[in-house]
Amino acid sequence: MAGWFLDLCLSLAVGHQYSSLGTQPILCGSIPGLVPKQLRFCRNYVEIMPSVAEGVKIGIQECQHQFRGRRWNCTTVNDNLAIFGPVLDRGEKNFKVSKATRESAFVHAIASAGVAFAVTRACAEGSATICGCDTRHKGPPGEGWKWGGCSEDVEFGGMVSREFADARENRPDARSAMNRHNNEAGRTSLSDNMFLKCKCHGLSGSCEVKTCWWSQPDFRVIGDYMKDKYDSASEMVVEKHKESRGWVETLRPKYNYFKPPTERDLVYYEGSPNFCDPNPETGSFGTRDRVCNLTSHGIDGCDLLCCGRGHNTRTEKRKEKCHCIFHWCCYVSCQECVRVYDVHTCK
C-alpha cells in the first residue's frame, strides 16, 4: 500500500501548491501503481484525491513523530515525503518482498487512519462536494438534507479509506490479510477516538433541546493510540487452506495463551530486524550518523541507538531565536542568541 500511496503523494502533493490542487484537474492515469479498482475510484472521486494524499502525509508525519529517537524512525529517503524504505513497500519494484513486521503494520494502520481523517476534514471544509448524505439517501437531491439533515461525514471518510486503501489488498495471501486487518484497525481506532460534543439551546438556553455531534480528535491522539497498539501488536502465524479458488492463506494467533487480537489490534507475522545496520532487504537504514541523546538511558540514548558502536561528539554553535513575541499566526519577532551545543551522532 505504502508504495503507491507515496507515489500518489509525490504526484499530487509534492511540488504542487495546495491552492492549485482544487483547480488543477488530477489525472488519475498519471499516478503510477494504481490497480484498476483504485483507478476507477480515483476517477469517480477525483476531488477528494488531494485529501487522500494529504491523509497519507499526515499519517507519515505522525509516524515520524511517534518513532522519533528510535532505531527505526519511520525514515523516508528524501526529506519528508518520499519513498519509504522497503520495510513498508510491497515490493513492486526491484525490492524483495518487504517483511510483514510490526513497523509495516503500524504504517498501514496510521496511513489508513490518516486518509479517513483528512477526508473527513476536507468534507467539513467543503472542498469536496460528494461528502454527506445526499449520495446515500434516496429521493430528489437536497430533499434528504432538508427533511432530516445529513448523516456524519465521518462514515464517509472511513468509506473512502476502505474503498481506496483496501482495493489492492484482495489477494488470498497472508500479507493481504494482514494489511486489510491493519488498515481496518487504523480506521477503527479513529472512529473509537471520536468524541461527542453537545450544545444546549432550549428555552433560555436550557438543556430542554440538546444537539450533539461527533468531533475528530487531534491526530496526535490517534498516533498515541496506535503507538500503544504497536507495542501490544499480536504476532500471528500463517495457515494455508485449500479452498475452491485455490490456496488461501489466513492468520492465526501464534500464542494461544494471549488474548486473540481484536479488530483494533495490529497484527504481524514476521519479526523485525534490529535496524542497526543498513540493509536494503529488510528496509533498514541503520543508525549511522543519527543524533543520539547522551543522558538518556532509553532507546534514544547513545548506547542503545548506536547499537553499542559508540558515538562521535562535536560542538556546534547555533544561532537561535530568543525573547520572541509571537502572534497567533505567522509572525514572530525575535532576537538572535548564539548557543553552543554538543551534538552526539552514532558511529
Binding site: G149, L203, S204
Partner: protein, 583 residues
C-alpha cells in the same frame, strides 16, 4: 367549580375518555418517533484560511472558501509564515451550508458554535484570561451567482477557556489545548439559501488585541438548525391542536356562563390555562416560512414562558381552593362541634342557611387572586427574571446575531444572577406547592374518619372534593413524571433507537409526545372540570358512581356546592333543596 363533570360521569364514560386520551397520547409519541426526523442537525465546519492579498482591501470583499471565485487559500500557517503573510491578512471563511446543499426557511433557526484548535508551544502559550477578538461579517445570497449582501458585521470578544491536560514540556509541543465551545452566532430565521461567514483575528500589539492567544491551527464552527421534517411535523401538530383546544375552551366557558352564578377563581384560572395553551398552539410559525421574522425564536420563548407560569399558578390555585374548602369544613365542624351533632344525624344542610356571614367571608376570600400572591409571586418573579435574561440574550441578537451575554464577565455574572434568582423562585414555589399538597392531604385524611358520620349531602360534597383533588394530583404527577423521564431519556440517549428495520427518533418523540401530553392535560382539565349540568333527573348514574372512595354524584351535591360557591343569589334549585332538606 363544584359539581364538575368528572364527578358526575359514570365509570364507563370516564374510562372511555381516559382510553381516548391515552390513544391520542400514544399517537403523538408515534408521530414524533416514526414520522419526524431528529429535531435538530449539527453540521461541523472547518474554516478555510484565505489570504487577503489586496493591500488596500475594499469593504465589500467577501471570501468564498470553495466553488467559483474562491479565495486564495493556504493549507497551514507554516505556509503563511514562509510566504510572509501576516495574521491581519488571513481571513477564515465558512460557507453555510456545505456544497450542493441549501438552507431553507423550514430550518427555523440557526446557531453557530465556535471552537479553536490551538497547539501548545512552550514559548507561545495561551495566557491566563486571554480574550480573542474576532472581526466577523455575515453575508447571504439566494442564488449561486449573485453578489453577497452583508447581513451583520461586528467585533466580538470571546474568552478563551482552554486547558492543556498533559504536561507542558517540549515533548508535548504540537498537541492541542482542550478549549470550551463558544457560542458564536444565533439567527432566529433562516430565510436565505446561502450564508457566508468571514472572520479575521486582527493583531494589535499596542492595544493588546489578540496577543497571547497561542498558536491557532484551525477554527472550527458547528452550525445547528432544526430539521425541516421536524418543523413540518411540528407545524402539523400545532395546526391540529389549536382548534381542538380552542373548541373545548369555548365549550367550557359557555358552560360556565350558562350557570347563574359568576365564575369562581379556579374556573377563571382554568380558562387562562386554556388561553395560554392556545397561545402556544397557534401556528404563527407558518408565517416564518415566507417572512423573515427573526423574532420568532424570542416569541416562542415568551409563549412557552407564559404557559409554564400559567401551569404552575394553576397548580397552586387548585391546591389552594381545595385546601380552603377542606379547611372551611374543618372550621365548621370543629367550631360547632358538629361531629357530635352528626352522630345524632342532624342534617347538615340545616346549618347552612344559619351562617351566611361565614360563607360570604370565605367566598370573597377564595375568589380573590391576591390571596395567592405569596405563592404566585415567585412564579411571576422567576419568569420575569428569565424573561429579562432572554431579552438580554435573544433580544439583543435581533440586532447583532453575534452577541452573547456569556461573552463578557459582567454579562456572565448578570446572566448567572438571573438564572440563580429564577432557580430560587422555582425552589420556593415547589416548597409552597408541596406544603399545600401536604396540607390538603392532611385535611383529607382527617376528614376521612368523619365522613361516615356526615349527612349524605355533605358526605357527597366532600367525597366529590376529595376525588377531584386526587384525580388531578394523580394525572399531574403522571404527566410531570413522564416529562422528567422522557427528558432524562432524551439526555442520555444517543437520539434514536433501532427497532428491527425501523428507526425510532427518541428525541423527536420526546418533543411531540410531551407537547401533546400537556395539550391533552389542558384539554382533559377543561373537559372534566367543567361544571356539570346534571340535575335531579340524572340520578341513574349515581348508583354506579366512580371509584372507591370517590364522591358519588347527586343532585344534593351540586346544590350544596353551589351554595358554597355562590351565596348572594341562591338559585331556584338551591331554594328547592333548602326546602327539601328542611322538610
Amino acid at each position: 367549580m363544584a359539581g364538575a363533570i368528572i364527578e358526575n360521569m359514570s365509570t364507563k364514560k370516564l374510562v372511555i375518555v381516559g382510553v381516548a386520551l391515552l390513544l391520542c397520547q400514544a399517537f403523538t409519541f408515534m408521530v414524533g418517533g416514526l414520522i419526524a426526523p431528529s429535531p435538530t442537525t449539527a453540521v461541523p465546519y472547518l474554516a478555510t484560511k484565505c489570504v487577503d492579498t489586496i493591500k488596500h482591501r475594499q469593504e465589500s470583499k467577501w471570501f468564498m472558501p470553495w466553488g467559483p471565485n474562491q479565495c486564495h487559500k493556504i493549507r497551514s500557517f507554516d505556509e503563511a509564515t514562509a510566504k510572509m503573510i501576516e495574521a491581519n491578512n488571513i481571513v477564515f471563511a465558512v460557507h453555510i451550508p456545505l456544497p450542493n446543499k441549501e438552507m431553507s426557511s423550514w430550518f427555523q433557526f440557526m446557531l453557530v458554535i465556535l471552537q479553536f484548535d490551538i497547539a501548545f508551544k512552550m514559548y507561545n502559550q495561551i495566557e491566563d484570561g486571554a480574550m480573542v477578538t474576532i472581526d466577523v461579517g455575515l453575508a447571504y445570497r439566494d442564488d449561486t451567482i449573485s453578489e453577497w449582501t452583508e447581513m451583520a458585521h461586528s467585533f466580538e470578544q470571546r474568552k478563551l477557556s482552554c486547558n492543556f491536560t498533559t504536561a507542558k514540556t517540549y515533548e508535548n509541543e504540537g498537541r492541542y489545548y482542550e478549549c470550551d465551545l463558544m457560542p458564536f452566532m444565533e439567527v432566529g430565521s433562516v430565510s436565505h439559501k446561502y450564508y457566508l461567514l468571514n472572520m479575521r483575528l486582527p493583531v494589535n500589539e499596542r492595544k493588546k488585541v489578540n496577543v497571547g492567544i497561542g498558536e491557532i491551527k484551525d477554527i472550527r464552527l458547528v452550525s445547528i438548525h432544526q430539521n425541516g421534517g421536524f418543523t413540518q411535523v411540528w407545524f402539523a401538530m400545532k395546526t391540529f391542536l389549536t382548534p381542538s383546544i380552542l373548541i373545548i375552551m369555548i365549550w367550557y366557558w359557555r358552560r360556565i356562563t350558562l350557570m347563574s352564578r359568576p365564575p369562581v377563581l379556579l374556573e377563571k384560572v382554568i380558562l387562562a390555562l386554556g388561553i395560554s395553551m392556545t397561545f402556544i398552539n397557534i401556528p404563527v410559525e407558518w408565517f416564518s416560512i415566507s417572512f423573515n421574522w427573526t423574532w420568532m425564536l424570542l416569541f416562542g420563548d415568551i409563549r412557552q414562558g407564559i404557559f409554564y407560569s400559567m401551569l404552575l399558578s394553576f397548580w397552586i390555585i387548585f391546591c389552594g381552593e381545595h385546601l380552603m374548602e377542606t379547611q372551611f369544613f374543618e372550621a365548621l365542624v370543629l367550631g360547632r362541634g358538629e361531629l357530635k351533632m352528626c352522630v345524632s344525624c342532624v342534617p347538615a344542610i340545616q346549618i347552612f342557611p344559619e351562617r351566611p356571614t361565614n360563607k360570604s367571608q370565605d367566598q370573597t376570600e377564595r375568589n380573590r387572586f391576591s390571596v395567592y400572591w405569596k405563592q404566585v409571586g415567585p412564579i411571576v418573579f422567576g419568569s420575569f427574571c428569565l424573561f429579562i435574561f432572554d431579552m438580554c440574550e435573544r433580544g439583543v441578537q435581533l440586532t447583532n446575531p453575534f452577541y452573547s451575554i456569556w461573552a463578557s464577565d459582567v454579562g456572565t455574572e448578570l446572566a448567572m444572577a438571573f438564572i440563580i434568582v429564577a432557580g430560587i423562585c422555582a425552589c420556593l414555589y415547589f416548597l409552597f406547592l408541596c406544603f399545600m399538597v401536604f396540607q390538603v392531604f392532611r385535611n383529607i385524611s382527617g376528614k376521612r374518619t368523619s365522613l361516615p358520620a356526615m349527612s349524605k349531602a355533605r358526605r357527597l360534597h366532600y367525597e366529590g372534593l376529595i376525588f377531584r383533588f386526587k384525580f388531578l394530583m394523580l394525572v399531574t404527577l403522571i404527566c410531570a413524571a413522564m416529562t422528567v423521564i422522557f427528558f432524562i431519556i432524551s439526555q442520555v440517549n444517543e437520539g434514536h433507537w433501532h427497532w428491527g428495520e425501523h428507526t425510532v427518533q427518541v428525541n423527536s418523540a420526546f418533543f411531540t409526545g410531551i407537547y401533546g401530553m400537556w395539550n391533552l392535560y389542558v384539554f382533559a382539565i377543561m373537559f372534566l372540570y367543567a361544571p356539570s349540568h346534571k340535575r335531579y333527573g340524572d340520578e341513574q348514574s349515581s348508583g354506579q358512581c366512580i371509584t372507591g372512595d370517590a364522591g358519588a354524584n347527586s343532585g344534593e351535591d351540586i346544590q350544596l356546592t353551589t351554595t358554597i360557591t355562590h351565596v348572594d343569589g341562591p338559585t331556584e334549585i338551591y331554594k328547592m333543596t333548602g326546602k327539601e332538606a328542611q322538610e
